[in-house]
C-alpha cells in the first residue's frame, strides 16, 4: 500500500477557538499517486481547504492535527519537525492559493520574490537564479518575462498574478502541487487559461495535483479522481466517471441535482434543503443527515463507514448498507 506518493490516513484536524473545539477535518482518508489530478470538492466549511493545509502543515495558530497520518513516500509527515517541513514545502509539495493578490507581497517585485523562492530551495545563486526565474515565467506562459520580473504585483492582472504564483510554486519542481481554489477569484475566460496551464504543466512535469474547489465544473474538467467532502468527512471518493455518473452518497446526488442540467436548461433545479452545517454543533451521526431527504433512524445516531462500492469507488452512506441488508446488492 505504501507505493502511493501521498497517503492521508484517518486525518483529524481541529481548531481550538473561544467557542470551543471545531473539528474541521474528521477522519479523512485518501491516496494520491504520481501524475494524478485529485479533486477535493465540497462547500464552505466542508474541511477541504483545511485538509490541504494540514498536508502542508500551514494551519492557523489555533489549528492542530489531532490524529492520523500523512504518509509521503511512506514517511509520516505529522511527526516531522518544522525544519523538515520547511524543506518539504516547496521542494516536495507546493501550494497556490485562491487570492493571488494577497499571497504576493506588494512591496517587492515579482522577480525578487521568485528569486527568493529559487534561492531558498535550490542551489542556484546570482545570475543562475535570475535565469531560472525567467525560465519559470516562460514556463507558465507569461510574455516578456524579462520585463515582468521588474514589475510589482499590483501592475499585473489577476490571471497574471496567478501565473506568477504557479511559477513560484514550481520553482523546484515539486512532486505535488496543491491548488486551493486557484480560479475562484478569476473570470471565466481567465479561469480557462489557468486550468489549461495547470493541466499542461502537470503533463509536462509529471507532478501530482490536488485541486481543492467548490466548482463541480472545474472538477469534471480536470480531475482523474474525486473526493467529495461534507462537514469535515469524506462522503465518497472515486474516479470522476463514478462520482458523476454513479453517485452513491445522498449529498453528491443532491449536489448534481442542484446545478443546471446542461442537456435541459429549463428543467427545474432540485435544491438540497436546509442550511449549511454548523461546525460548532456537529450531529452525532452522519454530518449530512439533517439535510438529507432519505435520512433514516441510524443516520442520526451513527457515522456511516466508508465502504467499497466497486474497485474505483468508495462511499460512506447508510443507504448503501440498507440496500445490502435488504439483499438488493449486486456484484458489479
Amino acid at each position: 500500500m505504501s507505493d502511493h506518493l501521498l497517503s492521508v490516513q484517518n486525518l483529524h484536524t481541529s481548531f481550538f477557538t473561544d467557542a470551543g473545539e471545531v473539528q474541521a477535518v474528521n477522519g479523512v482518508n485518501f491516496d494520491l499517486d504520481r501524475g494524478e489530478i485529485l479533486g477535493i470538492v465540497g462547500e464552505s466549511g466542508s474541511g477541504k481547504s483545511v485538509t490541504a493545509y494540514s498536508i502542508m502543515q500551514i494551519l492557523a495558530e489555533t489549528g492542530r492535527i489531532v490524529d492520523g497520518k500523512i504518509l509521503y513516500n511512506g514517511e509520516d509527515l505529522t511527526g516531522w519537525s518544522e525544519k523538515q517541513m520547511q524543506a518539504f514545502r516547496g521542494k516536495c509539495c507546493s501550494i497556490i492559493f485562491q487570492d493571488p493578490m494577497t499571497s504576493l507581497n506588494p512591496v517587492f517585485t515579482i522577480g525578487s520574490q521568485m528569486k527568493e523562492a529559487v534561492v531558498l530551495h535550490t542551489d542556484k545563486r546570482g545570475s543562475d537564479a535570475d535565469a531560472r526565474v525567467v525560465e519559470l515565467l516562460e514556463l507558465v506562459g507569461i510574455n516578456e518575462p524579462r520585463k515582468r520580473v521588474k514589475q510589482y504585483p499590483f501592475e499585473l492582472s489577476g490571471g497574471m498574478r496567478q501565473r506568477v504564483m504557479i511559477a513560484m510554486a514550481l520553482a523546484c519542481e515539486p512532486d505535488i502541487l496543491i491548488a486551493d481554489e486557484p480560479t475562484t477569484a478569476l473570470d471565466v475566460t481567465i479561469q480557462a487559461q489557468i486550468l489549461e496551464l495547470i493541466q499542461g504543466l502537470q503533463k509536462k512535469l509529471g507532478m501530482a495535483v490536488i485541486l481543492v474547489t467548490h466548482d463541480l465544473g472545474v472538477i469534471a474538467d480536470m480531475c482523474d479522481n474525486i473526493v467529495v467532502m461534507y462537514g469535515g468527512r469524506i462522503c465518497e471518493r472515486g474516479t470522476a466517471h463514478e462520482i458523476f455518473y454513479n453517485p452513491r452518497h445522498e449529498y453528491t446526488k443532491g449536489l448534481l441535482r442542484s446545478i443546471p442540467n446542461v442537456n435541459n436548461m429549463k428543467k427545474k433545479l432540485i435544491p438540497i434543503s436546509g442550511t449549511p452545517i454548523n461546525m460548532l454543533n456537529m450531529p452525532k451521526g452522519c454530518a449530512f443527515c439533517a439535510r438529507c431527504d432519505s435520512a433514516m433512524k441510524i443516520c442520526l445516531t451513527e457515522v456511516p463507514e466508508e465502504l467499497w462500492i466497486n474497485e474505483n469507488h468508495k462511499a460512506a452512506c447508510w443507504l448503501n448498507i440498507r440496500d445490502a441488508f435488504r439483499g438488493k446488492e449486486e456484484a458489479e
Binding site: 466548482d215 465544473g217 446545478i259 435544491p271
Partner: protein, 318 residues
C-alpha cells in the same frame, strides 16, 4: 410585442478617475440599450469590470447617469420621481454579508422599505406584513428578532430578497445574487426567484458571471464586454448559436459539470487579459483578443445589428 416594462436607451455612465493631475473618464457603461418585458428575466453576463453591476445601479439611479434614459412602464425615470419609482423597482445585492446592516434585526431590515414608503398604518400591520414576507422567502417567523449575522449566507440572501419584495415591486435588479453562495444553497435561491416570478409576476434583470445559472433562469441573455453589450439573444439561441467571438469563447470556457461533455468539447482559450477600461483600444474593444480581428475593427466600433429572431450582435466579421 407588448410594451416593455423597462426600456433602457443609450445609457452611459462615466466615472472621473483622478490620476495625478489629470482627470480621466472611466467609461464603465458606454451606450447600452435593452428592454425587459413584463414578468420576464433578462440575464446580463460579463466578466468582472465589464460594467454589468454599474448598469444595474445606474438603472435604479444609485448613480447619476452621464447620458441616456430609462423608462419604466413608459414613464421616464428622473430624479424627481425616483422615490416613487423605487416602489416599483428594487434590487438584490451580491454580498449577503455586507448588504444587511449588522445592527438591525431581520424584522427591521425587511420593515425598512415599509417605513420609508409609509406602507403600513400601524405596528400590528407592519409586523403582519413582515411575517408574510418572511414566509414568502422561506424564513422561519421565529427568527424575526434575530440579527443578520446569525444567519448563513443563503438565509441572508433570503432576507435581502424579502426586503426587495416588501414594496411589491414589478421589477428587481438581481446583482449576482447567488455567486457568493454555496452550490447546494444556490439552487434554493434560484428556485425561489423562479417561484416568486410565477406567483407575483416580477421581472428580473439577472446579473451574473455564471453562464449556466444565467442560462437556466433567463429567457433572454445580454453579453457585456468593457461597458458595451456585444450580443443579445434568446437564452437557448445564444447558447447554441453564439455569433460574437467573445460570446463564443465565453461559452466554451464555462466548465460544465459533466466529465464526458466537458472533456469532449473544444475550448477556445482567449489570449491575454481584458484591457484596462481607462486605456481602451480604438474601435471594437474586443479586437485585442479576437481571432477574427481585421483592420476595420481597429477603426470603427461595431453597433448592435439584428441577425433575425431578436438576435442582436455587435461585430463586423461574423
Amino acid at each position: 410585442m407588448s410594451e416593455p416594462l423597462v426600456e433602457v436607451k443609450n445609457l452611459k455612465q462615466y466615472f472621473p478617475v483622478r490620476s495625478g493631475m489629470k482627470t480621466q473618464m472611466l467609461k464603465a457603461v458606454d451606450d447600452v440599450s435593452f428592454t425587459v418585458g413584463q414578468g420576464e428575466t433578462l440575464g446580463l453576463v460579463g466578466e468582472s469590470g465589464c460594467g454589468k453591476t454599474t448598469v444595474g445601479r445606474t438603472l435604479l439611479r444609485l448613480y447619476e447617469p452621464t447620458a441616456g434614459e430609462v423608462r419604466f412602464d413608459g414613464e421616464l425615470v428622473t430624479d424627481k420621481n425616483i422615490h416613487a419609482m423605487r416602489k416599483q423597482m428594487q434590487m438584490v445585492f451580491q454580498d449577503p454579508y455586507s448588504s444587511l446592516d449588522p445592527r438591525m434585526t431581520v424584522e427591521d431590515i425587511i420593515g425598512e422599505p415599509l417605513d420609508v414608503h409609509h406602507l403600513c398604518s400601524g405596528r400590528k400591520e407592519r409586523r403582519e406584513k413582515i411575517l408574510e414576507l418572511m414566509s414568502y422567502v422561506g424564513l422561519n417567523a421565529e427568527h424575526a428578532r434575530r440579527y443578520a449575522h446569525e444567519f448563513s449566507g443563503g438565509q441572508r440572501q433570503r432576507i435581502g430578497i424579502a426586503r426587495a419584495l416588501a414594496v411589491n415591486p414589478k421589477f428587481i435588479v438581481c446583482d449576482e445574487p447567488v455567486s457568493a453562495l454555496d452550490v447546494s444553497i444556490q439552487a434554493q435561491v434560484i428556485n425561489m426567484f423562479e417561484e416568486l416570478q410565477e406567483k407575483l409576476g416580477v421581472a428580473y434583470l439577472f446579473i451574473a458571471h455564471d453562464l449556466l445559472v444565467v442560462h437556466h433562469i433567463s429567457r433572454r441573455i445580454a453579453v457585456m464586454y468593457l461597458g458595451k453589450i456585444v450580443e443579445i439573444a434568446d437564452a437557448d439561441e445564444l447558447n447554441e448559436h453564439p455569433i460574437h467571438p467573445y460570446t463564443e469563447s465565453l461559452l466554451s470556457a464555462v466548465p460544465i459539470p459533466d466529465p464526458e461533455i466537458t472533456r469532449a468539447r473544444q475550448r477556445i482559450i482567449l489570449e491575454g487579459d481584458v484591457p484596462s477600461p481607462l486605456n481602451m483600444p480604438s474601435g471594437c474593444a474586443f479586437r485585442t483578443r479576437c481571432r477574427y480581428a481585421t483592420e476595420q475593427c481597429t477603426r470603427e466600433c461595431p453597433a448592435l445589428s439584428n441577425r433575425g429572431g431578436g438576435h442582436q450582435v455587435a461585430c463586423w466579421n461574423r
